[in-house]
């Protein structure tokens, strides 16, 4: 099996051009899916028998939380690829992932806290999911802090890649230790979303939102990736042709 396609993809001019070409293919379906999901979730879906309309924040909250985890994985995997095969574009992808993932983590925390107000009566509860999400946000911020502390971009790339890999090994351990910690310290009064029999009218908009957010992430990633490549290759000759054409 040949790996030439990987190396072609790894060349900055090609990746830049490909990212430009692919962006609308992700952005438009993302917009359509999110609009459809929001309409389905906020208008068509019936109110929950217990939580009334308050439950509808799930259509933003759950996809954001899911995205923040998925983006961390994407970041760690592409950082590992960059570290192992020394592919610059791969590092650029990892670098572009971090701010997007951190934003989704913040969105998940804010919506979770707003949801907590009517459900738990307080904006913040040391619920295992919220706590893990907060730790995940700190992991993102640490990664970004390490990157920005280093002037030399190749070193920043490689050092932050090691951090991302260490982080991804640790994420499950943190997740389970937080769950264990919480189950010991708190009576299980906090809400349980363990209801697999969510009616389709509620479930389908959620799935639409999930898919929409995933595509939105890819669209944002491609846009950020182009910026990242431009910044890294600012002294390269092909930039002039690519930007002016």
């Amino acid at each position: 099996m040949t790996w030439t396609w990987l190396h072609k993809l790894g060349s900055p001019p090609r990746a830049y051009a490909l990212a430009a070409r692919l962006t609308p293919w992700f952005a438009w379906p993302a917009a359509l899916l999110i609009i459809a999901g929001l309409y389905g979730g906020l208008v068509l879906a019936p109110a929950d028998y217990q939580q009334r309309d308050a439950f509808r924040i799930i259509y933003v909250h759950a996809p954001s939380a899911w995205m923040s985890l998925m983006i961390y994985t994407t970041m760690a995997v592409s950082a590992a690829i960059g570290l192992i095969w020394r592919i610059k574009v791969s590092h650029a992808v990892a670098a572009s992932c971090a701010p997007i993932g951190a934003s989704f983590a913040i969105a998940a925390l804010v919506t979770g806290s707003l949801w907590g107000r009517p459900m738990w009566g307080t904006y913040w509860e040391w619920d295992p999911r919220l706590t893990s999400e907060l730790i995940l946000l700190f992991l993102y911020l640490g990664y970004m802090g390490l990157r920005s502390a280093m002037d030399d971009i190749t070193r920043a790339d490689r050092a932050s890649a090691v951090l991302a890999i260490v982080g991804i090994v640790n994420v499950p351990i943190i997740h389970y230790s937080v769950q264990w910690w919480n189950s010991l310290h708190q009576a299980a009064t906090v809400m349980k979303i363990a209801k697999p029999e969510m009616p389709p009218a509620m479930l389908i908009p959620l799935l639409l939102m999930l898919l929409g957010f995933t595509l939105l992430f890819f669209a944002l990633l491609l846009v950020r990736l182009r910026g990242e490549i431009l910044q890294r290759e600012r002294s390269a000759g092909w930039i002039r042709e690519a930007v002016l054409s």
Binding site: F138, L146, A149, T154, R155, A159, L163, N170
Partner: protein, 226 residues
């Protein structure tokens, strides 16, 4: 003749211990820090022993966590500045083993003394004597994992000027499981219950750290030397 990896690691360990004993003030600082942090709790919460006993696990563990993080600054910095680390990397010996030896020396110089004074701090917070074995065991295992985990952070921030705060920001979120299980073991020991379960989990984390952390630290040191 080539020295075996184990023999080289042993030499590094002995060298680090010897160097540390020639500069004793650096050894005492983390301990002093730990003692002061533990003193802050009675002063800020309440001098009542019954109330202090409730917060004792948290107080001891936060003190130990911060003191080990503080000590991490000294782990690689001197050796990076005078080029010793570079020589290690070029020596043809396995850098993983050498760094593991350095980390073990670091634990012997900071974690072990912390383990020794933690019971004194615990007694001053109203912890019954029966709880001391649990506290000793959990602090010893926990600080070992923290040294291993911290070695990665210390190696990653080698290239950063004044990287102390950054080192803390990188390491603290990753160290949370150690804090959770360590504090839980201490809490159970104080209640007089069996603290085996969290202790086993701490031991599992330490084993995972022994196997993986030196590899990551070696990769990070190589990156910082490039």
């Amino acid at each position: 003749m080539r020295t075996s990896a184990l023999a080289a690691a042993r030499l590094v360990l002995l060298r680090d211990l010897q160097l540390a004993f020639r500069k004793r003030s650096q050894l005492v600082q983390p301990l002093l820090f730990f003692a002061i942090v533990t003193m802050l709790f009675p002063l800020s919460i309440s001098p009542e022993l019954s109330r202090l006993r409730e917060v004792a696990p948290g107080a001891i563990w936060i003190g130990a966590l911060l003191a080990s993080l503080l000590a991490l600054e000294f782990l690689f910095r001197d050796d990076a500045n005078d080029g010793t680390l570079e020589q290690y990397a070029l020596s043809g010996q396995s850098l993983t083993w050498l760094l593991f030896a350095k980390t073990a020396a670091h634990w012997l110089l900071t974690g072990l003394p912390l383990t020794v004074i933690a019971p004194i701090a615990a007694l001053s917070l109203g912890v019954p004597i029966g709880a001391l074995p649990g506290i000793l065991a959990s602090i010893a295992l926990g600080t070992f994992s923290l040294s291993l985990l911290g070695a990665i952070g210390a190696a990653l921030t080698l290239g950063v000027k004044r990287g102390g705060v950054l080192l803390t920001l990188l390491t603290l979120p990753l160290a949370l499981p150690v804090l959770i299980f360590g504090a839980r073991a201490t809490e159970l020991a104080i209640e007089g219950a069996s603290f085996a379960a969290p202790l086993y989990l701490l031991a599992a984390i330490a084993v995972l750290g022994v196997t993986l952390a030196p590899l990551a630290a070696a990769a990070a040191v190589r990156i910082s030397l490039e």
